[in-house]
Amino acid sequence: MPLRLWRKPLDSEKIKIPEGEVHVLKDRCKGCGFCIEFCPKEVLEQSEEFNIKGVHPPQVKEETVCILCSFCEAVCPDFAIFSVKKDCKGGC
């Protein structure tokens, strides 16, 4: 068996990966689900709640993995979602 990679890279703490924060304007959402479908990091999911249009807006499933590609912002036909760089108060 040839060697396989298994170690945690020595520089893993040092490598900076952009971290994003996703904001949903719930009542603008008409429930097309594009953002959920296309988010490459699968950050979003459908929520249980109803908005004023009577649809389930998306909600953040796991924000820590958002890498700020902002594709959700680009695909949303209703400008109901956007992402910003994470506020790094706690250090990131």
Partner: protein, 811 residues
């Protein structure tokens, strides 16, 4: 020269066949135990023999002159020389024939030295009788010989080099500098191979990448080299001089405009452990494997990249790249190449020590491999050249090296020595001493093999610098949970005492093993592999970089574990061998390939199924069978398989072999063993028995075929029908066949015959199958001795019974 009075047969042979027989004394080598004069007299009386002589040294200039004169004077049109092995002097006497205007395929040899005088030193009477039989067999075959024309195949002056490690790089550069076009196919994104990962190189302690990088860029820039990286060979058709190769070029998604500025990579939000650093550093989805990579063009790992198929969700790199070099639309491409020669330089893998549980690799963080060490000690590596313990990122004050991990072991890993690990460890220990002289270093070894130029000096230096060499590998490594230090427990076999040592880090000196995907290249190029799994050379001594497939050569670790110097030497050798072919521009193929008798062929396709070289194309629709002569190696397996006798194996025809069988069994058949031996292993093994003067019974008569696959069941049946005592069919060991796998057909056929014999109530013991290497003379001799007892115990009844039954049931 002692010359017997030449005897002529009473009348002129009616069919115009005029054979000259020359019996060689070879000084006393033959004449010492064979009465050569008597053999010559005997020969003179054989049908078609016009002249028979015995002389002291037939291969000498005078000996050859005499033959040439006789050919002219007596209008000889066949020549038989009874002397040594055809493996030695067949080329000599073939040349003699040609010089006398006789087609060289009208020559036949009787091996009365290696197969007779040398193995029956003390039985002159019997040896002489055997020599007569051997001459009778040769004359019988010679009578049926026919002149042959050798085919000339043109050689394209282009080469494919597979694998861009140091061996492939060297081969490509040498051939390109000679003036040939070279395609260098590398499956990784960059050339460089293992050597690019190594820090310093033993024995000179040169910086590895510093001496490799200039070669890499020369390769990338050379006008005669076309580099195909991130590419794999998918298909190879054709034959020596004329290979048609399909290469799959996988897309990089970054075009040549890339200047390797790295702006894209900084923006890429996804990461993974870097293969080049064995996972000790991180890379992005858009990356270059290492700073000196050739080509330097970045590449996108689409499995990691956020953009799947046609949806571009992330455009960070696209935006960052000022040169607009990134192109997500790139598609895989199949490139068709036509080349005359191929160099295989696919290198080797390293052994994964995780399977040796007792050493705790992957369990204890501070147990690392020698390859990880190379990256850690490298100034450009993930730790900036600091030997850091993975557990706490501290520099260890004591380290232990364990040798032969995955090598030289009956239990785990491989049986062979990986060749570089001893010197690599000595190099590594000196590197540690250079940076941190206070470090305590232990090396646990089985034997230290410092055999090469400058190696012993390096070993001495390490000992002088205080590296402790302890003989005896630790039985087990135990981790101290608190400190993550390691306990090594074992026996010092020199001092016969137990040791228990507690270093802060352990480096496993891992072995080199065949690439896991070797079978792909093996299949595409019809190569063989040794039992170790490395590609097999055509001859270990005399053709060490050739393969059994014409036009294909080997270089570097693909052939066996070796260091950089040997890899480079071998690469230059391989390119010289390929260069010779291409400079000649053409090659002649021995005229031993089959001819199709179209009127007998039923287009059953059985021949194509057994041909190891795909040299037979069968089209059932158009009812066409085509023999691709240049791809054929002449093993004759097809000829043995054809149920309709539609294939004639030139120079080894059915009629010729049957005539040899009849001649061998003309007298006292029931006391004899007829042995079919393949040219490469078992005939050579019998030769070796002769060279080593191993004595065995005189009653064996050897018939040479190129491959045991040529031995058709009907030959065996015919031999039994002639009332022989026993038959031996022999070839190269399974897996070592000179014709790839043709001897598996032999095995199948013999097993079938055994079943048939059982069914017919015959003693199947009388048919033996055995495999020999060219070095197993001893084994050959013992096999004949063993078979002697079979012959002794066979009753005349049994022989008569088999004669009758076989005649009745033979196809």
């Amino acid at each position: 020269m002692t010359e017997t009075p030449t005897q002529y047969p009473d009348s002129e042979p009616s069919d115009g066949i005029r054979i000259g027989v020359y019996v060689c004394h070879c000084g006393l080598n033959i004449a010492g135990s064979v009465d050569c004069e008597e053999v010559a007299k005997f020969a003179a009386a054989l049908p078609h023999v016009v002249i028979a002589k015995d002389n002291r040294y037939t291969c000498s200039d005078q000996g050859q002159e005499l033959i040439k004169q006789d050919i002219k004077e007596h209008k000889l049109n066949r020549l038989v020389v009874a002397s040594c092995s055809p493996r030695l002097h067949e080329p000599t006497f073939r040349r003699t024939c040609e010089e006398a205007g006789l087609n060289k395929y009208l020559f036949e040899m009787a091996n009365i030295r290696e197969h007779c005088s040398w193995v029956h030193l003390h039985e002159k009477g019997k040896a002489t009788e055997k020599a007569k039989d051997l001459v009778r067999m040769a004359v019988a075959k010679a009578t049926l010989l026919e002149p042959q024309e050798e085919n000339v195949v043109p050689i394209l002056r282009k080469t494919l080099v597979i694998g861009g490690g140091v061996a492939g790089i060297q081969a490509a550069l040498d051939l390109a500098d000679t003036g040939y076009k070279v395609y260098l196919v590398e499956k990784e994104p960059s050339i460089g191979g293992r050597m690019a990962q190594i820090d310093k190189t033993f024995p000179t302690m040169d910086c590895s990448i510093c001496i490799l990088a200039p070669k890499m860029s020369d390769t990338g820039r050379h006008p005669n080299i076309e580099l195909l990286t991130n590419s794999e060979v998918e298909d190879v058709k054709g034959y020596i001089g004329n290979f048609k190769v399909q290469v799959l070029k996988k897309p990089r998604f970054v075009a040549d405009e890339c200047t390797a500025c790295g702006d894209c990579s900084k923006e890429c939000p996804v990461t993974t452990p870097n293969e080049f650093d064995i996972g000790l550093a991180t890379r992005r989805a858009i990356y270059t494997p290492f700073a000196q990579a050739v080509p330097s063009t970045y590449i996108i790992d689409r499995d990691l990249c956020l953009n799947k198929e046609n949806v571009i969700t992330c455009d960070k790199c696209l935006k960052a790249c000022e040169r607009e070099a990134i192109d997500f639309e790139m598609k895989p491409e199949t490139v068709e190449l036509e080349v005359g020669t191929i160099v295989v330089a696919t290198g080797a893998d390293v052994y994964d020590p995780a399977s040796l549980v007792e050493y705790g690799y992957k369990k204890f963080p501070n147990v690392i491999t020698s390859l990880e060490f190379e990256r850690l000690i490298n100034a450009g590596g993930p730790s900036g050249g600091h030997l850091l313990r993975p557990s706490d990122m501290k520099i260890p004050k004591s380290v232990a090296f364990i040798q032969c991990v995955g090598s030289r072991s009956e239990k785990d890993g491989h049986l062979y020595c990986s060749n570089v690990c001893c010197m690599n460890t000595i190099k590594d220990s000196l590197l540690i001493k250079e940076h941190w002289p206070e470090t305590r270093i232990y090396v646990f070894y089985v034997d230290i093999r410092a055999y090469g130029k400058g190696f012993e000096d390096l070993f001495k230096r390490a000992k002088k610098d205080g590296v402790l060499f302890i003989r005896g590998l630790p039985a087990e490594i135990i981790e101290d949970r608190k400190t993550n230090n390691l306990w090594l427990i074992g026996e010092n076999t020199l001092q016969k005492e137990l040791y228990k040592i507690n270093p802060e880090m352990v480096i496993l000196s891992i072995g080199i093993e065949p690439r896991q995907d070797s079978d792909v290249i093996q299949r595409l190029l019809t190569l063989s592999r040794t039992s170790d799994g490395f590609f097999m050379e055509a001859h270990p001594k005399l053709r060490p970089v050739d393969t059994p497939t014409g036009g294909v050569f080997l270089a570097g670790c693909a052939e066996s574990p070796k260091d950089i110097k040997d890899s480079v030497t071998q690469a230059s050798a391989a390119s010289a061998r390929a260069g010779i072919l291409m400079a000649q521009g053409k090659v002649t193929v021995e005229a031993i390939t089959p001819r199709l008798l179209a009127e007998k062929c039923q287009v059953c396709g059985l021949c194509a199924r057994v041909c190891p070289y795909n040299a037979i194309a069968v089209d059932k629709e158009t009812k066409r069978v085509d023999l691709i002569e240049a791809a054929c190696a002449g093993c004759g397996t097809c000829g043995a398989e054809c149920p309709f006798e539609a294939l004639t194996m030139r120079h080894f025809t059915d009629e010729q072999i049957l005539a040899q069988i009849e001649a061998a069994t003309e007298q006292d058949a029931d006391k004899k063993i007829v042995a079919f031996c393949c040219n490469w292993c078992s005939y050579a093994g019998a030769d070796f028995a002769g060279v080593s003067r191993m004595q065995y019974p005189t009653n064996v008569r050897i018939i040479r075929t190129m491959c045991s696959g040529r031995v058709a069941p009907k030959f065996i049946e015919h031999t039994f029908a002639r009332g022989v005592g026993a038959i031996l069919v022999s070839g190269c060991h399974l897996g070592d066949c000179h014709y790839l796998n043709a001897n598996y057909q032999t095995q199948k056929r013999i097993e079938k015959l055994w079943k048939k014999m059982e069914r017919l109530g015959l003693d199947k013991n009388r048919l033996q199958l055995a495999w020999f290497t060219a070095a197993e003379g001893e084994k050959f001799a013992s096999k004949i001795k063993e078979m002697q007892s079979i012959v002794d115990s066979v009753t005349l009844d049994e022989i008569e019974k088999s004669k009758v039954i076989v005649k009745r049931t033979a196809r």
